[in-house]
């Protein structure tokens, strides 16, 4: 059913259609609207049987989900940013125990400085946690990916994060096609856990494993994600059969057939990129797009296939590996190892910095001419940065960076009166 709705609300409805049995919620922006909506549904009895637990922290949220999932209940939670970091120990643990929890990450920057706006630093920090990570481009895709995520997680007995850009998607009102319950039921069978805590058949879950078997356990987790590389496209196909639309999969290309320059990105920024590419195509530029949906497992083969016919690519990512450069870019470069392709990294949109079309036009043109540094910081205010670096060169105790920046930009009170 088509409806104009907020992204968070749409995702909440999708979760409800998946018949979760335990939902644990802890408030953190920008995921709050999702669990608020689910809480209301449970409270109203619209979603039953389902337990909605208001936990005291994200660490508890993931821990409750671990318990409920191990006890055979379809379990869901949502988080973002600091919340994700606060639950990290449990995030790794859920994956290690092979518990098919689905978690929405409403992507948001990580402090300090504290910042509630969107980038991908939070979920990308968990790239090695053993969770699968699917990135939604639109709210429709966010809805669809959650449905697919439960199916995939439970099939492989591995947890999945469905990542959607905080505010940009979660708080955006768009037209979304909310599936019917029968469709979801046809696609997603009841949870048949691989292991379950049940007095009828006791098991001990979570043993201490020493050097004699630890590597094997870890390899098996890796092997599962390799299996997911095969299952994700298949599940997308099955999804299309029931729901009638393309959604999910590993990667998606746009106007890439004869592209010499490929733009690689994840999440909602793909929309802006496509607009820019359309405009540049209209001007005759041979430029195309590669959207990565599955960041974990990372589809090396599919990425390579999508890029190999081009001459160069630029990875535009909302994350920064401080001291190194791009995170997604590093993964993409791995995919094209030995191909001779020129690759550029563009760090953009950190902490919610807008990514205007104009900046992308400029960036992509520079890329075509290969006039880019290996790592480009899109729309970085070099003036501010250089002033601060200069101050620090002169005086190690040069004051708070943020305050100085505001001063340089003429935005602080001290600037007004100083």
């Amino acid at each position: 059913m088509l409806k104009q709705t907020e992204g968070s609300k749409a995702v909440a409805e999708a979760i409800a259609l998946c018949r979760p049995e335990v939902i644990c919620a802890y408030p953190i922006s920008p995921q709050t609207h999702i669990v608020e909506a689910l809480g209301e549904m449970v409270k109203a009895g619209e979603l039953a049987p389902c337990e909605f637990i208001n936990v005291e922290s994200e660490f508890a949220a993931m821990s409750v989900a671990i318990g409920s999932s191990a006890a055979g209940a379809r379990s869901y939670t949502a988080t973002a940013s600091q919340g994700l970091l606060f639950m990290v120990e449990a995030v790794y643990n859920a994956a290690g125990l092979g518990l098919p929890i689905v978690m929405t990450v409403a992507n948001r920057a990580i402090g300090a400085p504290i910042n509630i706006w969107n980038d991908h630093s939070d979920s990308l920090s968990q790239r090695d946690s053993g969770w699968m990570q699917l990135f939604a481009e639109t709210n429709q895709e966010a809805v669809d990916l959650h449905i697919q995520a439960f199916r995939l997680a439970e099939e492989l007995s591995m947890p999945i994060m469905v990542c959607m850009d905080g505010f940009i998607l979660t708080h955006a009102f768009e037209r979304v096609d909310i599936p019917a319950q029968e469709q979801v039921d046809a696609y997603l069978p009841p949870f048949d856990p691989r292991q379950v805590l049940d007095p009828a058949e006791p098991v001990s879950i979570g043993a201490m494993v020493g050097p004699e078997a630890f590597m094997e356990v870890k390899y098996l987790a890796h092997a599962k994600q390799m299996q997911a590389l095969e299952r994700i496209p298949q599940l997308a196909d099955e999804f299309k059969k029931i729901f009638g639309r393309d959604s999910g999969g590993l990667v998606r290309t746009y106007r890439a057939d004869d592209a010499e320059t490929m733009i690689v990105a994840m999440g909602s920024v793909l929309g802006t990129i496509k607009d820019v590419v359309d405009e540049m195509r209209a001007e005759g530029h041979k430029i195309g797009v590669l959207g990565i949906i599955s960041f974990r497992p990372f589809p090396l083969e599919q990425v390579r296939a999508a890029l190999i016919k081009s001459k160069r690519f630029i990875v535009l990512e909302k994350s920064l590996a401080v001291g190194m450069g791009g995170i997604v870019a590093t993964n993409v470069r791995m995919a094209v190892t030995g191909s001779g392709l020129r690759g550029f990294t563009a760090i953009a949109g950190l902490g919610g910095r807008a990514i205007p079309k104009s900046s992308l036009h400029k960036l992509f043109r520079q890329a075509e001419q290969e006039k880019l540094e290996p790592v480009t910081f899109v729309d970085l205010d070099w003036d501010v940065v250089n002033k601060q670096l200069e101050r620090e060169k002169q005086n190690r105790r040069s004051g708070p960076i943020a305050e100085n920046i505001l001063f340089d930009k003429g935005m602080s009170s001290s600037a007004k009166f100083g």
Partner: protein, 333 residues
């Protein structure tokens, strides 16, 4: 506390079993066919109080729940000695997740059972004092506050034993641990304000809070079984001496627990909805020194460089417990 309905067998009231009691009045541990929730072959040290306390508690919980029990377990000695791959000692469905999240994991299990309509299945969470009073405290308090249907059992051996005997918030003042060495002008652990988690649990107003020791099996079983008959958040702290960490003889585990109770150092009581409803009275009061001396962790308080003033401060703690909980029988004329 009338945990044994008929005090008729004069040689048997305090023993584990009693050949003369009717079968349904006997302790769980006395049963020839008892479940042994923790099987033989576990790797606990000789004379481990925690291995004993856990079997006492979980066996009792299993009986009271008709075998419909799931246990969550914090990281710690109990977890490590019971489930090193490839063997598990547990005979009940059991999960270990992390050090500090056991109460929340148990909440999740209970929620799952509720959602699935399996109301007969009961949930127990268990951890050591480190996993309970320190790192797991947030989850514990959350579980209490929501009144989740979980019985949380803390096996209190007063320190981080699994990692090599470091101080926890349950370590008593003056005790030697690897992080509170008996050196300097005030050797051993600091005299802080203490952290009385049973009382903190009571402050949550949860249906049931109790303390017990491995020296009083009948009392321990009575409390576990009573707790299992109730619903909502319940907390039992069981005093389990650690021969390795405390420097006591392996055969002294129960004696030390008994002395802790008889000295007043570990008050044994139960509380419902935040109010103490009964205490286990001291039977033969002993001075604190009798409890401290057999333990090497307090050895620096005695001998050539004795600290009698420190012993006196510990005695004052015991005396305060005795006053506060009314641990001595009233003198009757």
């Amino acid at each position: 506390m009338s945990f044994q309905p008929v005090k008729f067998y004069q040689t048997g009231t305090y023993t584990v079993g009693n050949r003369l009691l009717a079968p349904d009045e006997r302790s769980v541990q006395a049963n020839q066919m008892r479940g042994n929730s923790i099987n033989s072959g576990h790797r606990a040290c000789q004379g481990c109080g925690e291995a004993l306390g856990a079997r006492y508690a979980i066996d009792a919980a299993m009986v009271e729940s008709n075998g419909q029990l799931i246990a969550a377990n914090a990281t710690g000695c109990l977890e490590v000695f019971s489930t090193p791959y490839p063997e598990s000692s547990w005979q009940v469905p059991w999960i270990h997740s992390l050090f500090g999240n056991t109460a929340a994991v148990a909440t999740g299990i209970a929620a799952a059972m509720k959602a699935k309509g399996r109301h007969e299945v009961r949930v127990v969470a268990q951890g050591g004092d480190g996993g309970t009073t320190d790192i797991g405290f947030g989850c514990l308090s959350g579980m209490f506050e929501r009144n989740d249907d979980v019985l949380y059992i803390c096996y209190d051996n007063e320190g981080y034993m699994n990692t090599g005997v470091q101080r926890s918030s349950a370590t008593p003042p003056a005790a030697r641990t690897a992080t509170t060495m008996p050196v300097g002008p005030e050797p051993g652990n600091v005299f802080g304000q203490g952290k009385n988690v049973p009382e903190i649990a009571m402050a949550h107003g949860i249906p049931y809070v109790a303390t017990a020791t491995v020296a009083d099996l009948r009392d321990l079983e009575y409390k576990v079984r009573k707790a299992m008959r109730m619903h909502g958040a319940r907390y039992i702290q069981i005093f389990v001496p650690c021969p390795l960490g405390w420097g006591t003889a392996s055969h002294d585990t129960i004696r030390i627990a008994r002395l802790a109770k008889e000295s007043g150092m570990f008050p044994v009581f139960e509380a419902e909805h935040g109010e103490v409803t009964s205490v286990l009275k001291i039977r033969n009061k002993v001075a604190i020194g009798e409890y401290l001396k057999p333990q090497k962790r307090f050895a620096h308080l005695f001998g050539k460089h004795a600290h009698p003033e420190t012993v006196a401060r510990l005695q004052a703690i015991a005396d305060r417990n005795i006053r506060k909980y009314g641990l001595l029988e009233e003198e009757t004329d």
